[in-house]
């Protein structure tokens, strides 16, 4: 059996990509707790557009730390969960087909089967939730679901399940009424996916 260790020699840019997919997925899935906010507040951005967004995200985390923790939880609830529904519906099916549980979800499930990704026990939301798809992308890069997906497979997954709708979602998040901390998440997500889209185009 080939040395599994060799597969984990990720290029530096792939470590960074997986890091950002994971980070964004994590804060979207649940309001970050104090320990996590602390780490986010330590992010340092450079002078690029993306870097400036990172600095803004760090500042937003700092502000959230200074406020009552319930505020951030309420923000996450109002944005994504709500009574009945949140201000946003962060699902691929909703953005692509106008309703939840539509064809895009079926397509995602089929691709997950093919790629060896299973839904974790106890997860109630449909798999095409933005947080789940971001986490899947992170795993495809690092090889968490088996052999690391090569660039062509990543590009395919990205195109169908992220590039097609997530940039619009992040833009909506940036402009959402209930957004405070999450405004910065929207900005960084939008900028990050724009970088990914451009980079994938280079490999066409």
């Amino acid at each position: 059996m080939a040395d599994a260790a060799a597969n984990l020699e990720l290029a530096e840019e792939d470590v960074l990509r997986a890091h950002w997919y994971g980070l964004l997925g994590g804060v979207l899935r649940a309001a970050p707790d104090r320990a996590h906010l602390d780490r986010l507040a330590g992010l340092v951005g450079d002078e690029t557009d993306f870097g400036q967004g990172v600095s803004a995200l760090a500042e937003a985390a700092q502000a959230a730390l200074a406020a009552d923790p319930k505020t951030l939880e309420q923000e996450h609830f109002d944005l994504f969960i709500g009574v009945g529904r949140g201000e946003l519906l962060p699902y691929g099916s909703y953005y692509l087909a106008g309703f939840l549980y539509e064809k895009p979800l079926a397509q995602l499930r089929a691709d997950m089967r093919r790629l060896g990704i299973a839904r974790a026990e106890g997860v109630l939301e449909p798999e095409d939730h933005i947080a789940a798809v971001m986490e899947m992308m992170s795993g495809l890069i690092t090889g968490a679901f088996g052999d690391g997906a090569d660039l062509a497979a990543q590009r395919q997954f990205f195109a169908v399940h992220l590039g097609s709708w997530a940039p619009r979602f992040f833009e909506d998040l940036e402009n959402a009424k209930a957004a405070g901390f999450y405004r910065s998440v929207g900005r960084t997500g939008r900028q990050f996916l724009a970088i990914e889209t451009a980079a994938f185009e280079m490999t066409a």
């Binding site: 997986a18 996590h36 990172v54 060896g116 839904r119 968490a144 088996g146």
Partner: protein
């Protein structure tokens, strides 16, 4: 790796560097890949013939190291 592939890989690496993706790596010493260990997606219990994902010591080490 073929010359063409090598060039493409270098182009990609430069692109990400210039885009500022490294922003946040410095000083983000403790930001892990996810807020906590529970994730919404996990490797499927096999049957499909793939090698599958194994939590070998090396893999665990990678995730430790990746917590930058």
């Amino acid at each position: 790796m073929s010359e063409k592939k090598k060039k493409a890989a270098i182009g990609r690496r430069d692109f990400f560097k210039k885009a500022g993706l490294g922003a946040g790596a410095v000083g983000a010493a403790a930001v892990g890949l996810a807020a906590d260990e529970t994730k919404a997606a996990e490797p499927a219990k096999s049957g499909t013939g793939g090698r599958g994902y194994q939590e070998t010591a090396h893999v665990k080490k990678y995730y430790e190291l990746a917590r930058f």
